[in-house]
């Protein structure tokens, strides 16, 4: 696993951004900079270029994913790697970035879609221009992409979360879910599996899901949603937050209120963000896959697509560098790996 390199890239990119910002207060300077940059971005004939378009820049989780992606791109042999994206996660804002990449003749576009459909027409145009489309993290409508790199098997993620929570609340009581946005594809899939599991598994018969709320992956909003949940449902025993922003905000609220220790919290979180809450007892255990691997595999999948090694049909296999061989499953989905559970015993072993 390559977590160490990520920190470095993050800092470098930050410096670059700062330098660019400073240089560009004068308009001409910005133009020059863009001129200079574009030479490398375009790529010479035969050289493959890859561009990552995350949901939103400047998001810690995204940074980890992208760190892995950049490592993967280098390892896979891309000549040029770029990261572009909007500063705020909105459905349509990714479109113009896709357009610019289409125009730049980028060979592989790796995207985490804010809206499965809004990016569709733009992606189709990019494909028409010869680009390969890899969706990762959050899928687009399947018809717009070649493969989707999924963190884990959706059902596994759902099951591990409900299992963790059931254990923490002693197998019975009211629970709620604090999600990201209501039309985030991955979130909804997990929630669906959680609901199904609650309904079908007799072990969870005593548990009732009373509310689903959405914090829009915004720290303040998630914080207030968590607060509202506890007020509206006084007998709430536990919360599942399958999003890194949501779980951290909820943990922050719990740790500062008198619900600390009485209301259980689990979900998907970054160990670095969650460490204090695990240590102070607000959170017992939570889960996550290795985000860096997600980007890493996406880069290799892109390379395989661009080389023509795979087409994204079920059963295709490709080499994913250090992570070995991966197989394309049904609907062009590639699974990265099983989720890890973090708790007070092992959290210090991870740095992301």
């Amino acid at each position: 696993m390559e977590f160490i390199r990520y920190t470095k890239t993050r800092r470098t990119r930050r410096l670059l951004a700062f330098a660019a910002a400073a240089a560009s207060v004068a308009l001409v300077a910005s133009g020059c900079a863009s001129g200079g940059d574009a030479g490398t971005g375009g790529g010479a004939e035969g050289d493959l270029s890859i561009t990552f378009i995350p949901k939103q820049l400047n998001n810690p989780y995204t940074d980890v994913v992208l760190g892995g992606g950049e490592d993967g791109a280098t390892a896979a042999g891309f000549a040029a790697t770029e990261v572009v994206g909007p500063l705020e996660a909105s459905a349509s804002s990714q479109v113009s970035f896709i357009n610019a990449e289409t125009q730049a003749g980028t060979s592989v576009i790796v995207i985490a879609a804010n809206d499965p459909d809004a990016v569709g027409p733009a992606l189709e145009e990019a494909r028409a221009a010869g680009a390969k489309i890899v969706a990762f993290d959050s899928d687009t409508n399947p018809k717009y992409r070649d493969v989707f790199i999924s963190q884990v098997i959706a059902k596994d993620v759902a099951l591990i979360q409900i299992e963790l929570l059931a254990e923490q609340i002693g197998g019975s009581g009211e629970i709620a879910i604090l999600s990201a946005t209501a039309n985030a594809t991955n979130q909804n899939e997990w929630i669906k599996f959680i609901e199904e599991e609650l309904a079908s598994n007799p072990e969870y018969a005593e548990i009732s899901l009373v509310a689903k709320v959405y914090g829009d992956d915004d720290d303040t909003k998630s914080f207030q949603e968590a607060q509202g949940l506890l007020q509206a449902y006084p007998s709430l025993k536990g919360i599942i937050s399958p999003t890194t922003v949501g779980i951290a905000a909820t943990a922050r609220y719990l740790s500062t209120s008198n619900y600390k220790g009485t209301v259980a919290l689990t979900g998907l979180g970054l160990p670095n963000e969650m460490r204090p809450f695990v240590k102070d007892g607000t959170v017992t255990a939570f889960a996550l896959w290795d985000p860096a691997q997600l980007g890493y595999v996406a880069a290799f999948a892109g390379k395989a697509l661009a080389d023509g090694t795979i087409t994204g049909t079920e059963g295709d296999t490709f080499d994913a560098g250090d992570l070995g061989e991966r197989e394309v499953g049904a609907d062009g989905i590639v699974i990265v790996g099983p989720p890890t559970t973090f708790n007070a015993d092992n959290i210090d072993d991870y740095d992301f």
Binding site: A33, S34, G35, G41, E88, F97, A104, D117, V119, N183
Partner: protein
Amino acid sequence: MFNPPTELLPTATNQSGTRTAAVPSVGGRTGIARILLSRDTVMIYALVAFVIYAALFIPRFASPVSTGFLLLDVIPALLIALPMTLVIITGEIDLSVASIAGLTSALMGVLWGAGLDIGPVLIISLIAGVLAGAFNGLLVAVLGLPSLAVTIGTLALFRGLALVVIGDNAVANFPPALTSFFTSKIGGTGIPTVMIGVILVAIIFGVVLHLTPFGRGLFALGYSKEAAIFVGIKVVRAKFWLYVASGSVSALAGIYWTLRYSSARSDNASGLELTVIAAVLLGGVSIFGGKGAIPGAIAGVLLIGTINFTLRLGRISDVVLIIVTGTLLIASVVAPSIFEGVTKWLHARRHRRTLPQASASGATRATASGVQERK
């Protein structure tokens, strides 16, 4: 037609009896020079210069593909900037435009999702925009409430209604023929087909503002409401219809947004109001009202759009874009003040040098009109 009666007035008998106050040199330019140096014309130069610069020095910029992508991106802002120019010229503001676009989009999604034909869906959505604009107009024009506060309220209200209508859902399955029409280009020019409609709307607003009695009235209204009333300008009616126009065009922008991205969501176009206002102000429209022109406003939108596009081509972060937008906006309004200040200071310095001797002799007493004679 107007035909003045001949020889009505003998009036002012002697010239010297009516001494004009000295006419300051400011505003002394006439005709063509004035047009060539006006604020909005300068904006157009800036746009042209930047496009030429980008075409020469930014790889891949000079292609029809750029035209297409660029225009597709700016169309919503371009559309809304048109009525916004008129509204700001009358001294008011409309912050709710993006929310109206969002509401329209949400409504479209729900109606289409409910199985209505696309025709009625479009018509009802447009009507919603008209009504939203009329609601603003009612509060601002008829009840005379401050537009800044009112439209902050409706900014929240309309966005809220969008949420109420469609919630967190997104509707995406609009007819492919229609959505692909919205991204189609005219032949090989790269110009989006919908630009024809946009240009049409722009011409309508340009003509209304610059060539009709109504437009004349809007400028007067922006400077002085009282004076406008006295020459028979129907202030309430004019403002009301401007807000209706603003609502309708925002609805058009909302429809465009929905079909271009084939995604109807409550958060569509959010934050667009500030972009539009920044672009319009950059285009030389005065926030105090009374000053501005449609070509300038369009140039403002296109300039920001082009810079934006160039930065993306160069893969420079949006961070730079926001800083550049902010700096341009401030520079464009501060520069004239600084220029004026420097001019004044220079004058003052020159006069401090010449004046003492002038008043000592007591003879020099030149006023600008130069028709003084002492008796």
